[in-house]
């Protein structure tokens, strides 16, 4: 038995499903990014972008490895939230250094232009404060939107597609996205779970790729549904000390409160698992589209 099995709570008979396949994403992505790095070194194909010699492919690989490592620790030790919340800050270090070198070349923009708000220039604090915050928030927000077959794989894939559309370094994500979509295909059908190793890794991937591609606004808008979900989960825990819960009647899911995006959708309105995933994926796709439009217009 290569992968451990866990019961699928939202299927009749709660069949055992192999979990933790996200580590395969970590491994294949690492191999892919290393291949990009080496092929670029040997054949000078221009696949890997670098800032003052700091490799983007390797920076991304380190971050994803770290995400996978964190997820594995969570799977094995059930990390406390205070550790999970702040551990991604360490993964931000390679990105901060990469951004620092980009800023020396005058390539990275330390400002963010937001509709209705205008341009906010963070200066050096963009590197030291905003990047760590991006990594910390995005990683945890992506990790918190899950629990239904396909939800934790499809939604991040949509965000990555949106980022790739505008990224000059899109080649870095072609392989990882294809593999992630393969995992998503089986995940949607209830054949596999990606586990925390997968959800943390994909969260850090999104944050890192956005920073490397300098697509802050794009990320900020497309990730809004994730942040909304995390916010109401945290607020509910803070004020009511209760977590969102859904019940399964053998066919449909129903929620008794509105303490997460899933439970808001399923509140007093029983829906199938797949239907809920489709609705949330559509919301994420909508925000990704808005982000793309703003990017195009700016």
């Amino acid at each position: 038995m290569v992968f451990p099995k866990v019961p699928d709570q939202h299927k009749p008979g709660r069949p055992l499903i192999p979990n933790g396949l996200g580590v395969l994403f970590v491994l294949t992505t690492t191999v892919y990014l290393f291949s990009i790095y080496f092929s670029n070194k040997v054949f000078n194909l221009g696949l890997d972008t670098s800032a003052n010699g700091v490799s983007a492919a390797l920076t991304l690989a380190v971050c994803i490895l770290f995400g996978g490592f964190m997820g594995l620790l969570d799977d094995f030790m059930d990390l406390k939230w205070r550790y999970k919340a702040f551990m991604p800050l360490i993964a931000a270090l390679p990105l901060m250094y990469y951004a620092l070198e980009l800023s020396k070349l005058g390539i990275i923009r330390t400002s963010i232009s937001l509709p209705l708000v205008g341009t906010l220039d963070f200066g050096q604090t963009y590197i030291f404060i905003i990047i760590p915050l991006i990594v910390m928030i995005v990683t945890n927000a992506v990790n918190m939107l899950g629990g239904l077959n396909g939800l934790e794989t499809v939604c991040p894939a949509i965000v990555i597609l949106g980022l790739m559309a505008f990224s000059p370094s899109y080649i870095l994500m072609v392989g990882p996205l294809m593999f992630w979509l393969t995992l998503a295909y089986f995940n949607v059908r209830g054949k596999i779970f990606v586990g925390n190793a997968g959800s943390f890794a994909i969260g850090i991937t999104i944050a890192s790729f956005a920073v490397i591609s300098d697509l802050k606004v794009n990320l900020l808008i497309s990730i809004l549904p994730f942040i909304f979900n995390s916010s109401i989960i945290l607020l509910a825990i803070f004020f009511t000390r209760k977590r969102a819960k859904v019940t399964f009647d053998g066919e449909k899911l129903c929620a008794d409160g509105r303490k997460s995006l899933v439970t808001i959708i399923a509140y007093h309105r029983p829906l199938t698992e797949r239907r809920i995933v489709q609705i949330i994926a559509a919301i994420v796709a909508l925000f990704t589209l808005i982000a793309a439009l703003i990017q195009l217009l700016s």
Binding site: Q9, L27, L58, F69, F76, L93
Partner: protein, 761 residues
């Protein structure tokens, strides 16, 4: 007959008992350690590639090592104590005209090297002394890594020991300061540091016999004495150990053995240390060493309090102890016997003091470490360090308490001064190793056990397989690979190789060049010192900025006015004034130093060649030579503005306190723009003339032309004697051209123009 043979063979079985019993684990650990040490050594001698391999000689790295070398050479030629006894050796080729008292140096490194050299020479080995000194740091680094293995082994087993040794071997800060030619105080310093920690912690180990404990105390005393005699940072180690013992007392972990070991270690170490030339008895009453005595009193009080005595007596003893400590310090302070901690160490404790001292702040390695320096040093390995810290704090044994204190204090000092990252490297190595092994342990355990149920919820694993644990181990391995082998911050190059694969500073002519692309040494400086050696008398002084003083005296065999010892701040300010003043002011100051000996003035400038069209190029200052350092010349001489005005060298109309008198930065291009005073200062004129001469020389007879970015007045009294590097092709070193321009001083014309009677020679 057959029985007899059998009996005899049985008798031989006694030899089988002599066979060494070694487990497979020990063999693997030993083999791994040998590989780590081999890597540690070979990585450090990579710069040999750019040295004189056919002649079997090597130069030293940077500048300070030449100072250490000159003492070593003196010891080899005149005896180990010769710089100190019977009379102090004053090296008249440094700090003209007063010379440099070489007895004001720590003897551990030169004595170690001189003794080893003489030992090797006993076997008939004929090695060039400078080459020997160049390789010594790599050897000592290997010994330091071996000792760190032993410390790690004591802390958490062989695996921790091996990883600790590996991390230290490849730590960029330690690698840089122990690679080929880095013959400086950090070399015996780190050796003394790790050796002392190893022996001191073993001496406090209650599981060892009293005899072993006493022997370890004696050993730790010797290591500490060696450290005191080797590196100024001994204050740090002494105070760290004292703090550690004090914390143990506060945690009620006092044992009588602690008092015995402490007394023996520090008593003996300070006894030997204060006998070291230059350290002297005053060392023991300096502010940083007094805590040793204070904690000794605390230990004595703790020992007495152990006995069954009344509370009243206990209270009296505690008060008496406090009175002794406070009273003793007060008496020393009131009688002016209390030695202060010298300036450099105070500036480490309070790095903001350095900002007010341009002389200290002008040295790059003494600047405050930015987070980027720490990230380049440790990479994503910081993750394992934090995890290790967690494991260490969860299990606060005596050893782990030492590690916590060591890590916290060393990190502070490393953050205060880039150079002190080397202090943090050993403790980082141990704690990161503990972190890795701590994380891997459960996975290894799972790999060895049958699968078992861990949790029930959907998000967590219900069953964990061996293969899954294997994947976890592999991911940790990959993180280590990206940290040590394909580091993103170095463009995929191992950080260790990036640090090591660069020539010695003089073989690179102080340019940031190296790697596989550089096939031969950059010749400018080698040519310059070679020319001086041949054409300039050793008693003649060559005026140059203090960075290059040791190269002039120890390689060029000429007399210098200032060097890295920064012995005389006034003289450094004067040299700064010579370069920043106009030619007349410079000549006045040079004349004050004596026309008979001060014969040459030299600058080091690096040009950046930029292509303008297919046949035209422009030369401009690159910033790696005096064209970058002149700012410090202005600031350091500017600090002495009142004195220079009073002595009549500066005039109020052209006086300066910093670089802003000489120009300003263009807000659009961010480039420095010289004003009239800047264009006429000596350093600019000298650099510019070298630039113009290079452009003319290299363009002659070629299909391309190189033009200087600007020109200025040609100096009257400084005449080109030799410009080293003037024949380098524009693309020889990327787009950088290093030039060492040596000018002879035309005293005859100066005297004639100013109606001065030339001094008799």
């Amino acid at each position: 007959m057959g029985e007899g043979i059998k009996e005899r063979l049985k008798g031989l079985s006694v030899f089988s008992r002599l066979r060494i019993q070694v487990s497979h684990g020990s063999i693997i650990a030993f083999a791994a350690l040998v590989v780590i040490l081999f890597v540690a050594f070979t990585v450090r001698i990579i710069p040999l590639r750019w040295e004189n391999l056919s002649g079997g000689t090597s130069l030293l790295n940077e500048f300070d090592p030449y100072y250490q070398f000159s003492i070593t050479q003196h010891m080899v030629q005149n005896g180990l104590l010769s710089p100190y006894w019977p009379t102090h050796w004053v090296n008249m080729m440094k700090w003209y005209p007063a010379g440099l008292d070489m007895s004001t140096s720590l003897p551990a490194l030169p004595m170690t090297a001189a003794a080893l050299y003489q030992f090797v020479s006993l076997f008939g080995a004929k090695i060039d002394l400078m080459t020997f000194c160049a390789i010594v740091p790599a050897f000592i680094a290997v010994i330091s890594c071996t000792i760190l293995y032993l410390i790690g082994k004591d802390m958490g087993g062989k695996a921790v020991g091996l990883l600790s040794a590996l991390f230290l071997a490849l730590a960029p800060s330690f690698l840089q300061r122990s690679s080929l030619g880095f013959f400086d105080t950090e070399v015996p310093g780190v050796l003394g540091l790790v050796l002392f920690i190893f022996l001191f912690l073993r001496s406090l180990d209650s599981k060892r016999s009293l005899r072993a404990s006493l022997l370890y105390s004696l050993g730790s005393a010797a290591a500490l004495a060696y450290f005191i005699a080797g590196w100024g940072a001994a204050y740090y180690l002494i105070d760290l150990s004292v703090l550690f013992v004090f914390v143990l007392v506060l945690l009620k972990r006092y044992t009588p053995r602690m008092l015995v070991n402490y007394s023996l270690t520090f008593g003996l170490a300070l006894f030997i240390g204060t006998k070291v030339p230059y350290v002297s008895l005053g060392y023991s009453v300096s502010g940083a060493i007094l805590p040793v005595a204070a904690v000794f009193v605390v230990l004595i009080v703790s020992e007495i309090l152990r006995n069954n005595i009344s509370m009243k007596t206990k209270l009296s003893l505690v008060i008496a102890g406090l009175v002794v400590i406070v009273g003793g310090i007060s008496i020393l302070a009131l009688t002016d016997k209390l030695g202060g901690v010298t300036g450099k160490f105070v500036t480490v404790l309070d790095p903001f003091i350095r900002a007010a001292s341009p002389l200290v702040n002008s040295v790059a390695e003494q600047r405050i470490a930015a987070w980027g320096n720490i990230y380049i040093e440790f990479g994503i390995g910081i993750l394992f360090f934090l995890m290790g810290l967690y494991f260490v704090m969860r299990n606060p044994t005596n050893r782990n308490i030492f590690l916590i204190l060591f890590a916290a204090t060393a990190l502070y000092f490393a953050a205060s001064m880039i150079r002190l990252l080397v202090l943090f490297a050993p403790v980082f190595a141990i704690i990161a190793a503990i972190g890795i092994i701590g994380i891997l342990k459960p996975f290894f355990t799972l790999l060895q056990e049958a699968p078992k149920t861990l949790a029930k919820s959907k998000r967590r694993m219900a069953r964990v397989s061996k293969e899954y644990s294997g994947v976890a181990v592999f991911i940790i391995f990959m993180i280590l690979v990206t940290n040590l082998a394909f580091s993103p911050q170095t463009g995929g190059m191992p950080r260790a190789i990036e640090q090591a694969y660069i020539p010695t500073a003089i073989s690179a002519s102080s340019l940031p060049l190296g790697g596989s692309g550089l096939n031969a040494p950059v010749g400018a400086w080698l040519d310059a010192v070679g020319w001086m050696k041949t054409n300039v008398q050793s008693t003649n002084a060559v005026v140059m900025w203090w960075d290059y003083g040791n190269w002039l005296s120890d390689l060029g065999n000429v007399t210098s006015l200032a060097d890295n010892t920064t012995e005389n701040a006034t003289q450094i300010a004067n040299v700064g004034f010579i370069f920043m003043g106009n030619e007349t002011q410079s000549m006045q100051m040079l004349s004050a130093y004596g026309q008979n000996h001060v014969k040459y003035i030299a600058v080091f400038t690096v040009l950046k060649i930029t292509q303008q069209s297919s046949t035209t190029y422009t030369a401009s200052p690159a910033g790696y030579g005096d064209e970058g350092k002149w700012v410090w010349m202005a600031r350091i001489s500017g600090q002495d503005e009142p004195r220079l005005l009073q002595e009549g060298f500066m005039t109020p109309s052209t006086a300066w306190t910093n670089e802003n008198t000489f120009g300003s930065t263009n807000a659009q291009t961010n480039a420095w723009v010289w004003n009239d005073q800047g264009l006429n200062c000596t350093v600019f004129e000298l650099m510019n003339q070298a630039e113009v001469q290079y452009c003319n020389t290299i363009s002659t007879g070629q299909s391309f032309t190189i033009t200087p970015d600007q020109t200025t007045t040609v100096p009257t009294y400084f005449q080109v004697a030799h410009i080293a590097g003037v024949d380098a092709a524009p693309n020889a070193y990327g787009n950088l051209i290093p030039l060492v321009a040596i000018y002879s001083i035309n005293w005859a014309q100066y005297d004639a123009d100013h109606g001065i009677t030339p001094p008799s020679s």
